[in-house]
Amino acid sequence: MLRDASGPAGSPRRGVRSVEAAGKRRGSPPGGVWLETVLLLALDTATPAVTVALHDGRDVVAESTTVDARRHTELLAPAITGVLRAAGADRREITEIAVGVGPGPFTGLRVGLAAAQVLGAALDRPVRGVCSLDVVAHGVIASGGGGRPFVVATDARRREVYWAGYDASGRRLTPPQVATAADAAAAFGQHLSIAGADDMTAPAAGAGPRLYPDAFPVAVEPEYPSAADLAAVVVGGYAEIVEPDPLYLRRPDIAPPAPRKSVLT
């Protein structure tokens, strides 16, 4: 696919907490011509953050992030229309959609995936899935927190984390898993020791270090995935793209019915 001739996307903006237009769209590209118009809508609802961004192929042009674990259904649609309005864009101009596929608490995760899949189908645009832990990892690199191997650990509830380990450049070293924080930290420490590292206490991003500081004593930003990071890595071609289907990692919590109890006394 042809992209901006000037190369990969600009750096994503950080710390934006409300809808804002981050720049004028469709200015002339630095040192080149647009070979293709790109307007990517990115969203992720795998964590308490409902995060949405628009990327025009050169930069993030609007972003909205709100942290509220209980209101994904309420917040997502207004956030999408909000970024479109802030960027002065029409929904028909969207050329592709990117969505965080988790892992994450199922109910919230599905809100984003249902929206992305339906938007893709209704606008007839491709939908690209990216592991939400990878999105956080890209945030670590973008905010200068790389330089050594690190862990991304997000809240999986039930005293567990969703986690994956990354190398200093943000390349994933271990597959996404669900485990207690202590087990996750130990497993990645062992992975690093096998790889010959001296210091086995890897820094950790995501909500994991805030929730489990004993297991993850060294915290790095960001705490949540950012759609701006998601958009940037998809436009830049750095993301591992997967189908836009949920990464649950856990089976449904179900048991066949118990044998019937006697009602005769």
Partner: protein, 348 residues
């Protein structure tokens, strides 16, 4: 006359993913994907399994509905979605999908009440209703008597089950007598060879005292326990359980109490039309007894075909069409699904 607006309805409150297309009271498409097979081995609907299935089914079901109706998405004038009541996680999939669709099409979205949707479905079968109507809704998820004074804006709950839904009672009793899930069709089949008068099972909340406090309410837990006690006693005494008789007598007890109270509601509220809907309304004995008692009481009984009785998207589109026709305002973009949405809230 200009063509009526094309309404697309999305339903995900329980284990059916439904997308329907409707113009006014004309049915154009009713596509449903059911996850019922996935719940069979658990003997009931598992919410997380249902929610996962909804996400997998929502786009394929949407495409199927459009093909069935022979229309394009760009032809759609408005979208309606079940806002509640139902399973919280399941509702969210439909609401999120519907909101995304409203954004993609730039069309108004109406979050509507699932229970009133069941009543609106009848308009797709036999044309516009003349309100007020009494609705008897019986399914695996709900058992209610509603009075609908205006399909688009005014409904009230007269009575409901205090414990199990009628469909759940069928499922649990089926298990007790060694029949499969879902219980409704299996009990009906077994009952065909049985004697409904063979065993006198109790009619919940019909005693004089209960009729003053719970006049239009239902309770099936006592009935379920009575069946269990009867079966266990037979087993303990080494008597083979006459499955057809137990099924027939149980089914008769449910049909009797449902229809008795619904007819009473019509008579006491001065309402001359009854709508029978919900998946359990597929039960032949409940249908027949309702027909018989309505005829005897001079009540017009209306009931849609089975595919419009069970949960579906067309019923939501039908209610959406009524709301659009009335010119009511769309739901705000920030509306939330509500697993216990009261029936008085037809539109959120």
């Amino acid at each position: 006359m200009a063509e009526q607006p094309l309404i697309l309805g999305i339903e995900t409150s329980c284990d059916e993913t439904g997308v329907g297309l409707v113009r006014g009271t004309t049915l154009l498409a009713n596509a449903v994907a059911s996850s019922v097979e996935e719940h069979v081995r658990f003997g009931g609907v598992v919410p997380e399994v249902a929610s996962r299935a909804h996400l997998e089914a929502v786009v394929p079901t949407l495409r199927r509905a459009l093909t069935e109706a022979g229309v394009q998405l760009s032809d759609v004038d408005a979208i309606a979605v079940t806002a509640g009541p139902g399973l919280a996680g399941a509702l969210m999939v439909g609401v999120s999908a519907a909101k995304a669709l409203a954004i993609a099409l730039d069309k108004p979205l109406y979050g509507v009440n699932h229970l009133v949707g069941h009543v609106a479905a009848e308009q797709l079968e036999n044309g516009p209703l003349t309100e007020p109507v009494i609705a008897l809704l019986v399914s695996g998820g709900h058992t209610e008597i509603l009075e609908v004074d205006d399909i688009a804006s005014s409904a009230q709950l007269l009575g409901q089950t205090l414990d199990d839904a009628a469909g759940e009672a069928f499922d649990k009793v089926a298990r007790l007598i060694g029949l499969k899930y879902p219980g409704g069709p299996h009990i009906q089949k077994a009952a065909a060879d049985g004697d409904p008068t063979a065993i006198a099972f109790p009619r919940g909340l019909t005693s004089q005292r209960d009729m003053s406090r719970h006049r239009y309410d239902f309770s099936f837990s006592g009935l379920k326990t009575a069946v269990a006690r009867w079966v266990e006693t037979a087993e303990r005494d080494g008597v083979p359980v006459p499955v057809p008789d137990v099924a027939a007598a149980f089914q008769e007890a449910v049909a009797d109490v449902l229809t008795r109270k619904a007819v009473l509601a019509c008579q006491e509220r001065g309402v001359s039309t009854m709508v029978l809907a919900g998946g359990v309304a597929a039960n032949a004995r409940i249908r027949d007894l309702t027909k018989e008692r309505c005829a005897a009481a001079g009540i017009e009984l209306r009931q849609p075909r089975l595919s419009l009785c069970t949960d579906n998207g067309a019923m939501i589109a039908a209610l959406g069409a009524a709301v659009v026709e009335r010119g009511l305002p769309p739901s705000p973009a920030s509306f939330a699904s509500d697993s216990s949405l009261p029936v008085t809230q037809v539109l959120v």
